[in-house]
């Protein structure tokens, strides 16, 4: 067989593998599979492996004593496998972070898992094909069957696995594993071990001839891994559900408190009203027209002043059909009430779930804005206004607060700006990250009439 054909085959197999790895990892992270990072990673993968191969070759040549050669090759194989894979995974994580904005550690774990899937598919098929391939037909057919098919199968596996992962929204559970540091470390370690399983086994039992049992073992391993993921998924979903329920309860409590207050005020109002009216009746009996007119002038805005605000808040909240958002705002409003901050919420038209931004991002972003406004509002006579207006093409959000000392916008844009002392103030930075992640968003920060304004305009599908 000519060298060029050999090199070509090796190249093709690495290219397939690289693309497969990239696709799997971005599938796990539920990111769009983009062409440019894919090409970059594939090229990197191809050349890095070529270098490693060249390294092995050199070592192989240099060793002359027969008994040492074996050990050397094994060590290099381990290097080739584990360390090489680790390098590739780190590289992939970097690329995912740079081009798709993924978290580095999540990207790394995804790269490990993708590597495991691709490797398993590839090796199992390699065993099977070399076992069953026909002995006739020459070397070309043999290479085709034993090299091309397993590597193309990696692509096929990626094409099958990625849509499944997307459909089952695997990333939701996956990202849940990274909510805590301990969990994240555990997940990383586990996925790393999964990735290494092949090399470690190879190293420990180099003489094992792969057989049916061997393959079954690995399929079992995949199944176990899937169960593990499934279990975690269910666990995560359970946690989410509990949290959602707690949130709903909190929301209901806040709502109840609002209603109770309204009821109290209506009672007081009724009391006032009967008193006022008895006076009015007296005046009417006496024919005191000027007095009645005076009374009308005084009381015309009485009802609005007394109950208007609560009713308006309720109206506003009821217009939010995106329930997590409503729950967030209800709790924030209750919080402001507790702290003695005057709050205004205006939601003129229904806000629904047609917003392009991810709901989680929206909640986080709005939460940051409202929290900041609450912090920045003065202790006495602080006012926070929240405005949501959903129109045909956009959702307009404005959160504003008054202030003691005029905030300087020039310092605000710096990273980690805060008036709250050390260790805080990551809010604005993550807000900016959320905004820059959402396509078509417009964010505006400015001062107007003694209010610090934060505007966010989101496209609506």
């Amino acid at each position: 067989m000519p060298l060029s054909f050999r090199l070509f085959s090796v190249g093709v197999s690495y290219i397939c593998f690289g693309i497969g790895l990239y696709a799997l990892a971005s599938g796990i992270l539920e990111k769009k599979i983009k062409a440019l990072p894919c090409v970059i990673y594939t090229i990197y993968y191809l050349f890095a492996n070529a270098l490693i191969l060249a390294g092995i070759f050199r070592v192989y040549v240099q060793v002359d004593a027969y008994e040492y050669e074996y050990v050397y090759v094994n060590v290099i194989n381990l290097l080739n496998g584990t360390i090489g894979n680790l390098l590739h995974a780190i590289m992939l994580a970097f690329i995912l972070r740079r081009f798709l904005g993924a978290d580095f550690w999540q990207g790394l774990a995804a790269a490990f898992l993708g590597n495991f899937i691709a490797y398993t598919v590839n090796s199992v098929l390699m065993e099977v094909t070399s076992y069953y391939s026909p002995t006739f037909g020459g070397m070309y057919l043999y290479t085709f069957i034993t090299i091309y098919i397993p590597h193309l199968a990696v692509l096929l596996a990626a094409a099958i696995v990625v849509p499944i992962l997307r459909k089952s929204s695997f990333y939701r559970y996956f990202s849940h594993l990274f909510s805590g540091k301990l969990w994240a470390a555990g997940t990383l370690l586990f996925s790393f071990l999964l990735m290494c399983v092949w090399q470690v086994l190879d190293w420990l039992y180099p003489d094992t001839t792969p057989g049916i049992g061997y393959n079954i073992f690995f399929f079992a391993l995949i199944v176990v891994a899937l169960f593990w993921v499934q279990f975690l998924a269910m666990y995560a979903a359970g946690q989410d559900k509990i949290r959602a329920q707690e949130e709903t309860i909190a929301q209901h409590q806040a709502h109840m408190a609002l209603l109770e207050e309204l009821q109290q005020e209506i009672r007081a109002f009724r009391h006032d009203f009967t008193n006022l009216f008895s006076g009015l009746t007296l005046q009417a009996q006496e024919g005191d027209l000027a007095g009645i007119q005076d009374f009308m002038r005084k009381t015309s805005s009485y009802f609005d002043e007394k109950l208007g605000q609560e009713i308006q808040q309720m109206d506003g909240l009821n217009n939010i059909r995106l329930y997590p958002l409503r729950s967030l705002l209800t709790t924030k409003l209750a919080d402001m009430k507790k702290r003695g901050i005057h709050s205004v919420i205006e939601v003129l038209y229904p806000v629904d779930n047609k917003i392009v931004m991810e709901t989680e991002d929206l909640l986080r972003g709005l939460g940051i804005l409202v929290d900041n406004a609450m912090e920045a509002a003065p202790q006495t006579d602080g006012t926070v206004r929240i405005i949501l207006l959903q129109e045909e093409k956009e959702l307009y959000i404005a959160v504003s607060n008054n202030y003691d000392k005029e905030p300087e916008l020039s310092t605000l844009s710096r990273k980690g700006y805060t008036t709250k002392g050390k260790g805080r103030g990551t809010g604005l930075a993550s807000y900016r990250r959320i905004v820059s992640r959402c396509k078509g968003c417009v964010a505006r920060t400015y001062l107007k009439d003694g209010y610090f304004m934060q505007e966010l305009r989101l496209p609506v599908a």
């Binding site: 904005g101 805005s301 609005d304 003129l348 405005i387 093409k393 020039s410 417009v442 001062l447």
Partner: protein, 248 residues
């Protein structure tokens, strides 16, 4: 003369308003009028086209069975972006903040007591007069930015610099007392703004006229409001070359 429009479907209210407004114009000796009254939003939109802009609009907040006051105001704004909009409402507590922010509505007037309405109308008209007299025709350059369906015209001399936020073509525009984040590319603005702006870094496009000091040693460009932009090595060499050329 600045035309005044009233749009309200309750005749009693619009009659009263006409009375108040004509009186107040005479008292204030304002350059305003004539006062026109319609009872439907559609007619107002027609009327608007027949006279000059900017104009003053007194609009009911709600027209049962027709477009809402908000929609009407949005349509009026399309033709008259600098007009003055005042809403007429029955309640004290309606979502005025929304109107103020979205439509730059000036104020609102609560239907009811004659004297209270008069006070409110006078306040509105005085503030309109003040704004008109303080507004000088600006003939500097503008930078146009399309945000959703609207185009914002930003006076170039209020711009400090554009900053690329790195991810997905997001830009942050630093203005006097304002930050604006939106999707676009620095290349686009570098081309549009031309020679008045300088690419002092891959991710920064600064307004030359707003630079206070270029610190070559520390590689920082200081803006006149105290903000800092980084200076890249490439821009530094370009800057030096330019200075040498100018010196010759």
């Amino acid at each position: 003369m600045i035309p005044i429009y009233i749009c309200d479907d309750e005749k009693a209210i619009s009659d009263r308003l006409v009375h108040i407004i004509t009186n107040q114009i005479i008292i204030l000796n304002g350059d305003m009028g004539p006062v026109r009254v319609t009872d439907t939003p559609e007619k107002l939109l027609e009327l608007q086209m027949q006279d000059t802009i900017p104009a003053v609009y007194f609009l009911d907040i709600d027209f049962p069975g027709r477009m809402s006051g908000l929609e009407l105001a949005q349509k009026l704004r399309l033709h008259d972006p600098r007009g003055f909009i005042v809403f007429i409402t029955a309640h004290h507590n309606f979502a005025f903040e929304t109107f103020r922010l979205r439509l730059e509505a000036l104020d609102y007037i609560v239907k009811g007591d004659y004297n209270a309405m008069t006070v409110r109308v006078r306040e509105c008209l005085t503030s309109i007069q003040e704004r008109l007299s303080s507004e000088q025709p600006k003939n500097g350059r503008y930078c146009t930015i399309r945000l959703f369906d609207t185009i914002r015209h930003i006076p170039v001399d209020t711009i400090l610099y554009f900053e690329a936020l790195g991810f997905k073509h997001t830009l942050c525009l630093h203005l006097d007392n304002e930050l604006l984040e939106f999707n676009n590319t620095l290349e686009h603005f570098a081309e549009e703004m031309g020679e008045d702006f300088w690419r002092c870094h891959r991710g920064f496009l600064v307004n030359r006229s707003r630079i206070r000091i270029v610190d070559l040693k520390r590689q920082i460009v200081f803006m006149d409001n105290g903000e800092e932009c980084p200076l890249s090595r490439r821009a530094k060499t370009e800057y030096n070359a330019q200075r040498k050329q100018d010196a010759k």
